[in-house]
């Protein structure tokens, strides 16, 4: 715990050093260039974003689409887990089969279809994020359920427990830490896909702002987006890690 805390602090020191280096080099030493913007211009650009581009609304649009949809997908899987993830369920077979297609076809293609199917609206973004989160968590759960120690199941079964009891009280609980750990991966995955989705689809969101910045070749704006995204992702990760360590503290092996 202490070691990981110190190692994390080292990373932050490193980032702070890079920021100081950027300020010294690009503000005072180097002439204006297309590599990185000047810190003073970046600051002005940051203020402009709030004033002219409804930055807060765009951030809220992206963040809410991502987290609400992912949470909704998690809740739906949790509620219907015994109907869709038990061995006898046809949904499990369908889900795993779809998951295999998913490995061959890039997910962003599904997103492109959604853009065509749905009118340009906020709902298509929510639907896309829900679909991606649901299929990711469903597949992860199905894979992890196969890894649950058979001896554990047999031992509880020998005490008179039926299939549903074992699924709910043993198998599902056994996979929860692995599911929680996979949220880190899902989190990065959703952020990347959502930015691309908004970039293509337009509407509101950070992806839309990113498209505008690229269109106008506005380096300072791009830089601000980068920093904002980094902070948002880092903040999201910290919350996920906090709950992961607090609630799913155990390891089965």
């Amino acid at each position: 715990m202490t070691t990981s805390y110190h190692s994390e602090r080292k990373h932050y020191y490193f980032i702070i050093c890079l920021l100081i280096l950027w300020i010294i080099l690009f503000e005072f030493i180097l002439p204006p260039n297309q590599i990185l913007p000047r810190p003073s211009i970046t600051l002005l650009s940051f203020i402009n974003l709030f004033r002219d581009y409804q930055f807060i609304i765009n951030i809220l649009s992206t963040v809410s689409a991502l987290y609400f949809s992912a949470i909704a997908a998690g809740i739906v899987i949790w509620i219907f887990r015994k109907y869709i993830l038990t061995d006898k369920s046809i949904f499990k077979f369908l889900g795993i089969s779809l998951g295999r297609i998913n490995r061959l076809v890039p997910v962003i293609l599904i997103g492109l279809f959604l853009i065509i199917w749905f009118p340009v609206s906020e709902y298509s973004k929510y639907a896309f994020m829900f679909l991606i989160s649901f299929s990711f968590l469903f597949n992860k759960a199905a894979i992890e359920l196969k890894k649950v120690n058979i001896e554990t199941i047999q031992s509880i079964n020998s005490l008179g427990a039926d299939e549903i009891f074992i699924f709910e009280k043993i198998s599902w609980k056994a996979i929860e830490p692995a599911l929680a750990a996979s949220l880190t991966e899902l989190h990065y995955y959703l952020w990347s896909l959502l930015i691309v989705f908004e970039y293509i689809n337009g509407g509101t969101g950070l992806g839309k702002l990113l498209r505008t910045a690229i269109q106008f070749k506005d380096l300072a704006d791009l830089f601000v987006y980068g920093i904002t995204l980094w902070i948002l992702i880092l903040f999201g990760m910290s919350i996920i890690n906090y709950f992961k360590n607090k609630i799913f503290f155990w390891s089965v092996n």
Partner: protein, 250 residues
Amino acid sequence: MNPVLEAKNISKYYKGPAGSKQVIFENINFSINEENSITSILTPFGWGKSTLLRMLSGIDRDYTGEILLNGNIINKKLPFIPENPVSLPWLDVIDNVRLVNSLRLKRDQLSINALQDLIDLVGLTGYEDHYPFNKSYGFRFRITLARALVISPQIILLDDSLKLMDFETKTEVFGLITKISLARKIKFILASSNITEVDSISDKIIFMNKKPGSTAREILNNKQGLGTFKKEIMELLLDGKVSNTSNYAI
């Protein structure tokens, strides 16, 4: 004397890769009587003792022959404790023990005091709110044993459950099993490949042969103290009447 548990001509096969019939066991016969409180099934390594215990437990019903409990074909399951004790790391000790209590009929459910008695019996008093995560095999075995006791079984099956414990813990657990067997009139069946282990704890050993698995001999404790079985088993092994010594832990 009527046997409590009886295996009659038990055979198990599986289909090999080329569709050939592979024999795991053939015509296994043994019985466990009222006076046998701790019986060991001594098998060579890789013999299939877990498979046999799963069959005795009622988890695996894919075999030929008969398993009788109190003279009737077994129709309920017997508690099975695998090699790696099944303590659930997300539940504390008391919740681990009472997990299967809710499966029983309301009138048969144990009260909190009765559950506490079981925790006391397995020696976990004071650890009720501890989580088994990262705890020793001995600790986790005690939890698994207490949980099995909740359903008031007649027989408990142990699948080499002591193998992963250190000597000191093993000695404590031997004492615990003996105590529970006497106090609750419960019979234990331990499957193991360790001659010293079964010699230390059992009052009957069912000695199994290798390839195909079959019953070689049943040896009863003649009450002459520790080491009696070991001597007898070693004689059998050295005479070449059963598998050689390298197939066992001594």
